[in-house]
Amino acid sequence: MMKRTILGALIAYASISVAAAQTAPARQIPPPTSVPQARNEAPQQQAQQNAELSQIKIPKLPPFTPQEPQRIQLANGMVIFLQVDHELPLVGGTMRVRGGATSEPADKTGLISIYGDVWRTGGTKTKTGDQMDDFLEARAAKIESNDGDDSTSLSFDCLKGDFEDVFNLFLDVLHNPEFREDKIGLAKRQMYTVIARRNDDVESIVGREAIRLAYGPGNPYSRIPEYATVNRVTREDMIQWHATHVQPQNIIFGIYGDFDPKAMEARLRKAFDSWPKGKPVTEPVMTFTTALPGIYFVSKDDVNQSSIQMVSLGIKRSNPDYYAVEVMNQILGGGFASRLFETIRSKLGLAYSVGGGVGTAWDRPGISRFAMATKSATTGESVKAMKSELNRMLTDPPNAEEMRRSKDAILNSFIFNFDDKEKVLAERMRYEFYGYPPDFLERYRAGIEKVTVEDVNRVAHKYLHPDQLPTLVVGNPGELGNQLTALGPVKTLDISIPPPPGQPTKTGAAPGR
């Protein structure tokens, strides 16, 4: 995260673009469309004006059936997907293992993040991580482990001629990780750096505080590593975690690239058939408690722009309202012609980065976020403008033209969900992991087609609640004046970093939240 921020700022310093990274919740399908301001008279006018446009022929899209990966389930429960792609002389694979950071003990927050590094960097019983680095880099190959909220993963990628060597090493890391202490120390030092720097960057503050407001401070997604929790993590914790989680029935393994599927299946069976089945992992139990409405303020005195985010609880993707929510999000915020972009950015010139929508997630309610950044002087005005756009979604439902455009945007770009064999594999693995039907994407298309304006209006009322949203503002108190108090009661969040164990708080008072 920090790497991206600092490297990004250095390398991308000279690279500026018309659209900011999307602040909308992760979406399955790209951005929205709508021109509400012009929508009553625009269609006719446009028809006249754009005679050129209407003469352009749009033939039918040629039929295309994406190549589905082959699914193999071993007797020990491991699920394997093979996706052959002969285009380039490469082979790669990702093994996703159930169980992640949301299951780690709260007093050891950071354990999975460290485990996600050291599983690979700590080497195996017979090779140190450094020896692996030399071996792999000389072949331009990779083996990497990663942490996640609900899973961890081990992946590889290599030229096809190196497959056997790299795969053997991959199996060694899978079965015999050594978690050497020097690499645990290195991973912890990286964590301490992230902790020390987490208040330097506005985005990092907004990201974590918004989750706390939406899910509640006790929810596992809200936890952040502290010096003390990282300090408590031991090698024994990692060995223990590995032993209880890295078992075949918890694993989905996807392999893609230039190989013969029969030979690959035989190779994988040889590698995994004799691996005994273990016990399934238990899912963490979570509660989701959104903060009360109001302004939540974080003081940062070295900025001249306020970052604003309104949040609430969204939905799970298995919710029957999912398709109507997707269409509503398309209309409301995210793309060049969405209501939020059009009003707040183009019409009012208040923000460069603006967007949002009702959040959706695979296994829990997503976080609905409505986010923007504006100069300190227009912070109050912007909060009101955002709220008024959300209210307008309730009072001013989309007309037929908006409905057509937003559904077209989703359906016409549908092909980009499976225009690449690796994308198809990744989707399929996701459905398998979260227990969704294999034809979920087809159902999605059919679901979107059926959405009516009444559906959109209904879900807008059901999920938006513009007056109930906790509103996070990170900004400069010296420049804000009384703009925030004019909006209602303000609660100031204390984001001071608890000092490492045994060291006094140099900064004076650091009361709890």
Partner: protein, 512 residues
């Protein structure tokens, strides 16, 4: 293990070289370049994986071309290229056009009065400002907002964006293949006759972009100051986003003048990759893009940076944690040593085997990240090779400096090993292969290679240059480049601990 490694990587070399020959041959068969009569260069690369295509348009003009007193203008025009044409984005262009022209008259007068050095008349300024803003609101009534982007999106376009760099400006998205003609219409008309509607509101948007990327981000603030310190004559000294005063001054007239000067077809390169066939593609491209009027390629010369003769530095006092950057002037990407700099970047920075990682992060345990790279802030003209390091809590910028310098000295005094040199060459090959498997990435590479080297085949031929790099080259280039008098240093120092906000740098992490 190392000996074995060397043996194996030679084997890879033999394995990979023929594959590459085959790949260039396969690309020769499915890639075609045409220069249209108006000077526009178009590349088609067939890739029949799925019924979609991606494009990448490179305009060979970037922030370096910003006129004096108008920094940020190239980027501003990039934003305006999404505002439509006489037929897209308007309810009544005939009427709109008249108001847009009036805005420019009044705005020019307003700026003249506002920036008068003596005898300013506040009343007159206020009147003109009001007139200007009223006209902006009047023009607004004719706008069909964001219609250009809306047409792209409702037709299934994805990944639509654009970027302005110091060296060039780029535009890109992907579309279903049945929208080829629509794409050609949209992309040719936006560069045949763009309309500067909503200019002054968009200028506010761009100012917010500056606040986000530079003003409110400590690293952004440091890099702006650092680059401005390293360059004194070259236009690379100016931030692409623009200096604040210029962002409050330049006009729609300035932007359209910039467009007419630099967005000429002979200065533009379009690469299209996807499920397209030549006999269907070229007639459409010629019909639409052939209509863009032609004029001569603009002058590319800039003020050259004179040699630096003593070390420079800039230190920011911030509430943020410390950060260390240093940069050395190096020649442009056309230098015969370009691949040698690539080798140095790779050896010093690429992955866990890199020298800076092993020294500062693994062994000395003083930094979380340490790396060096070329291309700050651009590459087309002489630029910087920069090193940076992120200190661990409790460690200082001076430690970063000393440890980076120790690694630089090693590079100057000792030959790199055979394994290291071979690793660089193997990784360079693999990284090219990995970039060939997706439409947007390929379109980007082909357009850049065609614009920068005059031939997309450089995507493969760059390997010849990479193969020729020797140990002696690396030592020579390191000795020529990494000298004190050629150095600029930029640091963030943590000035103070703010009221109850942050842990200071003096705090030590728990003992292990």
């Amino acid at each position: 293990m190392r000996k074995f490694g060397k043996f194996l990587s030679l084997a890879i070399l033999f394995l990979v070289v023929p594959l590459f020959a085959q790949d260039l041959a396969s690309f020769e068969k499915r890639t075609e370049v045409r220069k249209l009569p108006n000077g526009l260069t178009v590349i088609l690369c067939q890739r029949h994986e799925a019924p979609v295509f991606s494009f990448y348009t490179l305009v060979d003009a970037g922030s370096v071309q910003d006129p004096k007193g108008e920094t940020g203008l190239a980027h501003m025009f990039e934003h305006m290229a999404f505002k439509g044409t006489p037929t897209i984005g308007t309810k009544d262009y005939a009427a709109e056009k008249i108001v847009l022209a009036k805005i420019e008259e009044v705005y020019a007068e307003y700026i003249r009065e506002r920036d008068r050095m003596v005898n300013r008349d506040p009343k007159k300024i206020a009147e003109l400002e009001k007139q200007w803003k009223d006209l902006v609101n009047e023009a607004d009534t004719y706008v069909v907002r964001n219609q250009f982007g809306e047409i792209v999106e409702e037709n299934g376009g994805v990944g639509m964006n654009a970027g302005t760099e110091e060296d060039d400006t780029v535009y890109f998205y992907s579309m279903p293949v049945n929208r080829l003609e629509l794409w050609a219409y949209l992309e040719s008309s936006r560069f045949a006759d763009p309309v500067m509607r909503e200019f002054y509101k968009e200028r506010d948007v761009v100012y917010e972009e500056r606040r986000m990327r530079i003003d409110s981000d400590p690293t952004g603030r440091l890099v702006e100051q650092f680059v401005g310190t390293a360059f004194q004559a070259s236009p690379y000294r100016n931030p692409g986003i623009g200096w604040p005063a210029d962002l409050r001054t330049f006009s729609a007239t300035d932007a359209i003048n910039f467009f007419h000067k630099y967005y000429t077809p002979s200065n533009m390169y379009i690469a299209v990759v996807g499920d397209l066939y030549p006999d269907q593609f070229w007639p459409v491209v010629e019909k639409y893009f052939g209509q863009i009027p032609s004029h001569p390629k603009p002058d590319e010369r800039i003020t050259q940076e004179p040699p630096q003769n003593s070390e420079r530095s800039v230190a920011l006092q911030e509430t943020a944690q410390p950060l260390y950057v240093e940069g050395y002037h190096r020649p442009s990407y056309l230098s015969p040593d370009d691949a040698v700099y690539d080798a140095i970047t790779d050896l010093m920075s690429n992955g866990r085997t890199s020298r800076l990682y092993r020294s500062l992060v693994r062994d000395k345990r003083i930094a979380a990240i340490a790396a060096g790279f070329s291309g700050l802030p651009g590459q087309k003209y002489p630029h910087l090779f920069a090193f940076y390091a992120v200190p661990l809590p409790g460690h200082t910028n001076n430690e970063m400096r000393d440890a980076i310098h120790a690694e630089i000295e090693r590079l100057k005094k000792e030959d790199v090993s055979d394994e290291e040199l071979q690793m660089f060459k193997t990784r360079a090959r693999a990284s090219i292969i990995r970039g060939l498997g997706n439409n947007p990435g390929l379109a980007t590479s082909l357009a850049i290679m065609q614009a920068r080297y005059g031939d997309w085949r450089e995507l493969f031929r760059q390997l010849d240059r990479i193969d020729k790099v020797t140990k002696a080259d690396i030592r020579r280039v390191a000795n020529e480049t990494f000298v004190e008098s050629n150095r600029t240093v930029g640091i963030i120092e943590t000035a103070q601990i703010p009221r109850g906000a942050q842990a200071g740098p003096g705090q030590q992490p728990p003992a292990q």
